[in-house]
C-alpha cells in the first residue's frame, strides 16, 4: 500500500523549515512530506509550533520564513499570497474561525468557491447554481440552510464554526487540507459529523494534516503517520500506534526524545 503511494509525486513537501515572528524563532527545521491519499496527524504541547506550521503553509503574513522551503505540487510557494495558495488547492481549517460582521456567509462561500473554480478553469457559479451546490454540501456537515443567511461565523457556536470550516473545505475541494484542532470544543455528536465530513471529502488524490491533542478524532479518522512536535521541531514520527502510546504516556514521555536528538 505505502510503496504504491510513493510512486506518485508528493502534494506537499516541507523541507527543513525555520520561521519566526517578531524575531522570535518558532519553527526550527521542520520537514514533512505528504503524498496523495495520506493522512498525517501532528500532535504536541500547546506552543510547540503546530498552529504556526499550519499558518505558514497557508501564507499568514505575520511569520517570516528564515530558511527552508515549502513545495506544493512540486512548486516552491514561499512567496505566494494566501489567496493564491487557497486558489491552487491549499486549505487551512482554522482553530478559531474568524467572525466577519455584515458579510453574508452565502456570499462569502460563493466568492471563495468561485475564486477556486476560476483557478481550475471551471465556470464561475451564479447565485442560483451556487445554491444548488451548497445545498448538496450542507448535507455533508448536517448544517441548516439558515446558516447561509447569517454573517460569516458571527454568533455561531463553537461547533457551528467548525462545521462551517468543513463546509468550506467541501466547497473548495482542496488538494491538501490542514485542519488545526478542528476537533477541539466539539461534543461527541458534532465530532462524528465533522469526522465523517472530512472522510467524505478526502479521497486517494488528497492529503490531510490533522493537528490535534486528542485520540478521539484519530479513532474516527485513522492517520497513516503521527508526528510529535516539540519546540518547533518534529521529534518523532510513527504510525497510528504512536498516538495511542502518547495518549497513554502523555507529552512528558516525549521529553526524552528531545534529549535523544
Amino acid at each position: 500500500m505505502q510503496s504504491k503511494m510513493k510512486e506518485s509525486d508528493p502534494i506537499l513537501e516541507v523541507k527543513n523549515l525555520s520561521a519566526s515572528t517578531d524575531n522570535l524563532p518558532i519553527l526550527k527545521g521542520v520537514s514533512l512530506t505528504v503524498y496523495p491519499g495520506e493522512i498525517h496527524a501532528i500532535m504536541g504541547r500547546n506552543g510547540c509550533g503546530k498552529s504556526t506550521l499550519s499558518k505558514i503553509i497557508a501564507g499568514h503574513p505575520s511569520y517570516n520564513i528564515t530558511s527552508g522551503d515549502i513545495k506544493f505540487l512540486g512548486e516552491n510557494i514561499n512567496s505566494l499570497e494566501p489567496e493564491e495558495r487557497s486558489q491552487s488547492g491549499i486549505f487551512l481549517g482554522f482553530q478559531y474561525p474568524i467572525e466577519i460582521p455584515g458579510v453574508s456567509n452565502l456570499e462569502f462561500l460563493r466568492v471563495s468557491t468561485n475564486a477556486r473554480r476560476k483557478f481550475l478553469n471551471k465556470e464561475e457559479l451564479d447565485t442560483f447554481d451556487f445554491e444548488e451546490l451548497v445545498k448538496e454540501k450542507l448535507e455533508i456537515v448536517k448544517m441548516d440552510h439558515a446558516f447561509l443567511s447569517r454573517s460569516v461565523n458571527q454568533g455561531f457556536s463553537g461547533g457551528e464554526k467548525k462545521r462551517n470550516e468543513i463546509l468550506q473545505m467541501a466547497l473548495l475541494e482542496p488538494k491538501i487540507a490542514i485542519l488545526d484542532e478542528t476537533d477541539s470544543g466539539l461534543d461527541i455528536d458534532a465530532l462524528r459529523i465533522v469526522a465523517s465530513g472530512i472522510k467524505k471529502i478526502s479521497n486517494s488524490q488528497t492529503g490531510i494534516i490533522l493537528i490535534t491533542h486528542y485520540q478521539r478524532l484519530l479513532d474516527e479518522i485513522k492517520p497513516n503517520y503521527v508526528h510529535v512536535m516539540s519546540d518547533g521541531q518534529i521529534i518523532k514520527t510513527g504510525d497510528s500506534d504512536l498516538a495511542l502510546e502518547l495518549e497513554e504516556k502523555g507529552y512528558e514521555w516525549t521529553d526524552n526524545f528531545i534529549k535523544e536528538t
Binding site: 503574513p61 505575520s62 489567496e83 487551512l92 455584515g102 456570499e107 466568492v111 475564486a115 483557478f119 468550506q168
Partner: protein, 480 residues
Amino acid sequence: MVNENLVKDVVKEPYKYGFVTDIETEKIEKGLNEDIIKLISHKKEEPKFLLDFRLKAFKKWQKMKEPDWAALGYKKIDYQDIIYYSAPKQKEKISSLDEVDPKLLETFDKLGIPLTEQKKLTNVAVDAVFDSVSIATTFREELAEHGVIFCSISEAVKNYGDLIEKYLGTVVPASDNYFAALNSAVFSDGSFVYIPKGVTCPMDLSSYFRINSGDSGQFERTLIIAEESSSVSYLEGCTAPMFDTNTLHAAVVELIALDDASIKYSTVQNWYAGDEEGIGGIFNFVTKRGKCLGKRSKISWSQVETGSAITWKYPSCLLLGEESVGEFYSVALTNNLQQADTGTKMIHIGPKTKSTIVSKGISAGNSKNSYRGLVKMGTKATGSRNYSQCDSMLIGDQASANTFPYIKSQQPNSEIEHEASTCRISEDQLFYLQSRGIEFEEAVSMMVSGFCRDVFNQLPMEFAAEADKLLALKLEGSVG
C-alpha cells in the same frame, strides 16, 4: 505589520472626476457686499420679495460668527476672496437642449449623466447644475403630465413665485446658522420640486451638482414640497475638479411633507477631497432639513459621503405632525487628511412621532470622522420613539473616529435608544478571507460594504450599486 501598509495602499483613491471643462464663463468680481447681492438678484431678474429675503439674510450673516464647535480644523475662510456668481456663457434664452453649449453636455456625459434626448437616463429625471446655474432639466413634459413640477429654483422663482414666497426659508430660516445665512444671501441656483396632492412621482428625480471653477463658491438651494398623500424619491450627486485651493460649497436644502406625504432624499457626495497631503478639496458646509408638517408624513435621508476636504452636514427632521416619521441613514468614508463632522437632528415635536438613525463612519489614513447627532423629545411628543445606531470602522492606526450623541428629553412618556460600536479591520479577518482565495482588495471592500449594508439597503437600487462601486473605487489602489 505588512498588512497595515497594504491597507493604506488600498484606500488610496484615484479621483475620476477631477477634470476641468474649458468654457467661457461669466463671473462677477470677488467679494461680498450689498451691491453684489443686488447684482446677483438683478442677473436672475428676481422679484422684490426675494431681494429683500437676500438682503435681510446678509444683514444677519454680518452679525453672526462662524461656528467653531465642530471637531474640524481648517484655515479661516476669507469670504471676500470668493466669487459668488459664475455661469457658463450661453445664449440668453435657451428653448431646447440643442442650444446648450456642447461642452457642457459633454461634461455631464463624462460624469455619466447624459442629458440629451437620445441618451438621457431612463426613469430618472435630472436637473444638471454647473457652478451657479442650472443647465438643463430632463423629462419635464412627462412629469408635467402628472402635475409634478421639477425645474431649477431660478425658474421656479419666475413661474411659481407664490410657492417660493410661501415656503422658502420656512424650514431653514436665514438666521438658522452662519452658512445658511450666507446661502440665503447669495444662493444662485438649485432644484425645485413640487408634488401635487395624491401623486406618486412616476420616476426618481435627481440633481447633479458640478463645481467647475476654482475660485467661485457654489451656493445651491433646493426646495421640495410634497402635498398631501404624495410621494417622491430624490437623488443628489456631486463632483468637482481637482484644484489646489479650497472651494466653498454652502448649500441649503428644505423639504416639506404634508399629511401622509413621503420624501426620500438620497445623496452620493463625491466632491474632490484634496490630495494625500490635504492640499485642495471642497469645504462642504451644508444645511439640510425636512419638516414633517403633516400627520403620518415621512422624511427619509440617506447619504453616502465620500468626498470633500471637510464635511459639515446634519440632515435633520422636524417631526411636527402626529405619527410622523424621520429617518437618517448615513455612510461617511474619510481618507488621507479628510475631515467629516456629520450626523442628524431628530426633533420630536408632535405626539407618537418616530425616528431612526443609522450612521456608519469609516476612517482611513489620517482622517477624522465624527458623528454628531441630537435627539430631542419636546413636551408634546408623548409616545414618541427614537432608535439610534452609530458604528465606526477604523482602517489603519492613524485614523480617528468620534461619536457625539446629544439627547434631550422633556417628555417622560417617550423612548430613546442609542447603540454605538467601534471596530477595526483586523489582520486576522483579512487573512481569513484571503486564505479562502479572496484577493486582498476584495476582502477589504467586502468588509467595508458589509459594514455599510444597513445603509445601502435604504438607497434606491441604482444608487446602491453606484455607492457600492464608489466605495470599492475609493478602496481601490495598487496592492503590491
